[in-house]
């Protein structure tokens, strides 16, 4: 057991956890931030994507202790004062999800992309997002949503 100290969605957090606690379990069960989903459990599907010091990581194959002293951003941290993030609005406006399970991971990965490349081409979006699987949409609407958010279309 150790006391983990970090920032989650801008707020300081201190929790006692065992060293083998996975980051996804820490977020979901210790902090109740169930927006982050666990899909494949082997770092392939992208559903559990969160930002660790701004970098997209698969929280199912990271230990919570690896985030000690870091800043973690989850889907719950994107909206500001009840105002949805442009990516969240775009996914709603452009039909970027159906069942919704993969959506938090899709949006966190897309946020990491737009943070480093605010105006990506379609090919750059496809290349970056290939680690986020979706079994409903066929991906077209996800790509359109990210393009729309990047262009500021219909997401004001």
């Amino acid at each position: 057991m150790r006391t983990l100290q970090l920032r989650v969605n801008g707020e300081p957090v201190a929790r006692e956890i065992p060293d083998n606690r996975l980051l996804v379990d820490f977020l979901r069960y210790d902090l109740g931030l169930t927006g982050t989903k666990e899909g494949c459990s082997v770092g392939v599907c992208g559903a559990c994507t969160v930002l660790l010091d701004g970098q997209p990581v698969s929280s199912c194959i990271a230990l919570a202790v690896m985030a000690d002293g870091c800043e973690v951003t989850t889907i719950e941290g994107l909206a500001e004062d009840d105002r949805l993030h442009p990516l969240q609005r775009a996914f709603i406006e452009y039909g970027g999800f159906q069942c919704g399970i993969c959506t938090p991971g899709q949006i966190m990965a897309a946020k990491a992309l737009l943070d480093v490349n605010p105006h990506p081409s379609k090919e750059e979006i496809q290349g970056w997002m290939m680690g986020n699987l979706c079994r409903c949409t066929g991906y077209y609407k996800i790509i359109e949503s990210i393009q729309a958010a990047a262009e500021g279309k219909g997401v004001s």
């Binding site: 770092g43 992208g46 970098q55 990581v57 230990l63 690896m66």
Partner: protein
Amino acid sequence: MHAITYESPKSLAQALSLLSATGEKGRLLAGGTDLLIQMRAGVRKPEQLIDAKSIPELQVLSFNSQDGLRVGAAVPCCRLIEDPAVRQHYPGLVEAAGLIGSVQIQSRCSLGGNLCNGSPAADTTPALIALGAVCHVASSKGTRTVAVEDFVVSPGRTVLQADELLVEFRIPAPKPHSADCYQRFIPRNEMDIAVVGVGAAVTLNGDTCTAARISLGAVAPTPLFAKEAGASLVGKPLNESTIAAAAALAQQIAVPITDMRGTAEYRKHMVGVLTRRVLTTAAERARAK
């Protein structure tokens, strides 16, 4: 997952002293993108994880035209791929590192982790062998160097002793008119394990090849250095027939297995195809320099 203790040493000396105290029960944690999957599945059960993140020696990334490239064992692949000197001088290494997983994986995975995991199909290992990379290994008793092609001894096992850790890779400076290339075959576009991977690095003097190294992944219990295949090109022009002869020599040392990713016959065939492709591309890159 089983109970563990986690340490995050701030220096190499501290890490080595932890490792010499824990021995077989300890394991270095680089990005964890292989190790934590194996621990979740119960395949590996280290009692203590020693995180490389805060060990400065394992995070070195520097290049100069005399000594070449130094890459700390735990440098995340995303940092390596974005480095301008690495992109300019070692495009094959960038190709290999860029093939590992998604951006979520590349933000954590490392050359050292990829090698120490000991997979015969590791993508960056053939790229490192082609470049003649050398591993710098340390324990509390001293240091030693090991060529990358001698590092993996069987699937999942390496030459590292229980008290040793991989500190960094040293990759020779590129000679004029030299270049590398790495390609793999997988049945889909992304996010898969190599059916076959081939690396090559060539040096040209005019039309004549003065040095060539070829390496193979996923066609033997360990990544292979196809020494004779590379040597066959030295003193000759790189053309269709010399490249085909080198590819045939590379095929000779491949001893693949049949599994769900491909048959032994198909893998052997693909060694020939990919060796021809990577040699052709490496030669084009070397001529363009």
